[in-house]
Subunit: 151 residues, 2 copies
């Protein structure tokens, strides 16, 4: 009986986002603005073959664009995107963290002009170092917890 | 390659919540106040063998109590709970909708005493008919969209 309950249907067409940071799959869904009328499988804190844990997201009948993939990379930079057509992986790529992010994140600085009800679209730049750090273009404040700053 | 990506590990110990109303698994996680450091699999809009769609939730190393199961039934009354120990289903039961719910739901009536910052715990009764309807014990207002009224 358990086998039936557990089986995950083979995906024929869609996207598998693998190597999501453990516990971040819900945030990935949020940045993708994925509606819950899609068929999806979400694995949270799955044991990785290489040891450690990861989340996996499988979305049926959706092929993520490069732009959507970069949104994933925003909060989970090491994620890999697998596009599946006819039951086969036809394209696999690493999500690339966007250099500039407009309108997705909010600044944590209450005095930033982007928080003053002005007609200003938020903008953040990827920092020059390797720390996957985003800096507000208006007030230069770093974002500390990216997932919490998603609009 | 896809097979590796897709495989869902057989659960050795934990709970499978099956037959969740399609699209409601996230709300079930919310009422269970399940933290995202658990290993979980969530299937959204999975095709049911009987036709139609359902959500399935698999939580490792957690055995839901009857009280927790009744919270599931609150928003997804036809869900079934499977407790798994040593890789086998040792107990299977239907979640039973609670007759009285205290402190979980909020009333949609802004004039209800439970919305007046008074030291009052919200309380709802299951209606006598078969409509899975909850009524506020203070102001007698029906809850229209249960999932939205969860605190």
């Amino acid at each position: 009986m358990q086998e039936n309950l557990m089986k995950v249907q083979r995906i024929e067409h869609g996207t598998v986002v693998d190597h999501i940071l453990p516990g971040m799959a819900f945030d990935v869904l949020r940045v993708l603005r994925m509606s819950n009328d899609r068929s999806m499988s979400i694995l949270i804190n799955s044991h990785s073959r290489k040891g450690g844990k990861k989340d996996i997201l499988k979305i049926e009948d959706v092929e993520l664009s490069a732009q959507e993939a970069s949104r994933v990379a925003l909060i989970s930079p090491q994620a890999t995107i697998n596009i599946i057509v006819g039951g086969k992986v036809v394209r696999k790529f690493n999500a690339e963290a966007p250099k500039v992010v407009r309108g997705v994140l909010t600044c944590s600085n209450p005095n930033c002009i982007s928080n003053q009800n002005e007609p200003v679209t938020t903008e953040f730049r990827l920092g020059p170092d390797d720390g996957h750090r985003y800096v507000c273009s208006y007030c230069e404040r770093d974002i500390v917890d990216l997932a919490k700053r998603i609009r």
